[in-house]
Symmetry: C2
Subunit: 115 residues, 2 copies
DNA sequence: TCAATATATCAACCATCGTTGAAACGTAGA
DNA sequence: TCTACGTTTCAACGATGGTTGATATATTGA
């Protein structure tokens, strides 16, 4: 269960244009992930810069990596993203369903059908 | 509907210890809100510092304010918080229900019952 | 072993952020 | 109108963040 410290780190990680794009790209890419080079091209940043942001993202647990040949494959950390959403809803809406109920309602069709 | 730019600003706003606490405090306080002075004491920051963070928060739309006598009352912007959750789930899980389904499932009891 | 590929690290720079104390502003009551 | 109160603005600072180009590390194939 995510605590405040982790949540702050995760939000800070997502609060940067390039990093948010990286995470979204990786989520779209799915569990099989994406090589760093491809990511750099997709997001539009230099290799050095991508490396910097990926380090931040993996330090805050939103991204994982594995080596595959010469490439390093990054993937979204689905469980951690899920926990972040839970934190935002559970602890931010603290007994105030009016915050997250609309979000849940709007996305019920999208997300619960395959749960 | 929240776009990428707004989402980055909102995440960046939440990615700071004191600001996350402010938002959580305001959500707990409910729609009636909370005076700046009370907030400063509750969160544990100086008046000047609180002012700085509140400016950031209202600039990214997570907080609203109104004057009431000598006090200025701040409240959480529930619709915007809700949209942020939607953004994180809708666009981050882009066709990948495994990201948000667990969150939705875990919180269905908490948040959908009064929807 | 050598060259080529893929990625990470390093050093440096400029910009932005978070904090502080002092001062200013707006409001209410005597 | 004067004074007290609540909050914001301002100027300054040290610290952190994002970017860049050059260099280093690991892996593969000839």
């Amino acid at each position: 269960m995510m605590d405040e410290r982790q949540a702050v780190a995760a939000f800070a990680a997502l609060g940067q244009e390039h990093r948010l794009r990286i995470v979204r790209q990786l989520v779209t890419a799915g569990p099989e992930g994406m090589a760093a080079g491809m990511l750099a091209e997709a997001v539009g940043v230099s290799g050095t810069n991508l490396s910097f942001h990926l380090k931040e993202l993996s330090h805050s647990g939103l991204v994982t990596s594995r080596r595959e040949g010469r490439s390093i494959i990054y993937s979204a950390a689905y469980p951690d993203l899920s926990e972040l959403i839970q934190f935002l809803m559970r602890d931010c809406c603290q007994g105030r369903p009016e915050v997250c109920a609309p979000a849940v309602a709007a996305l019920a069709a999208c997300c619960t059908e395959t749960a």
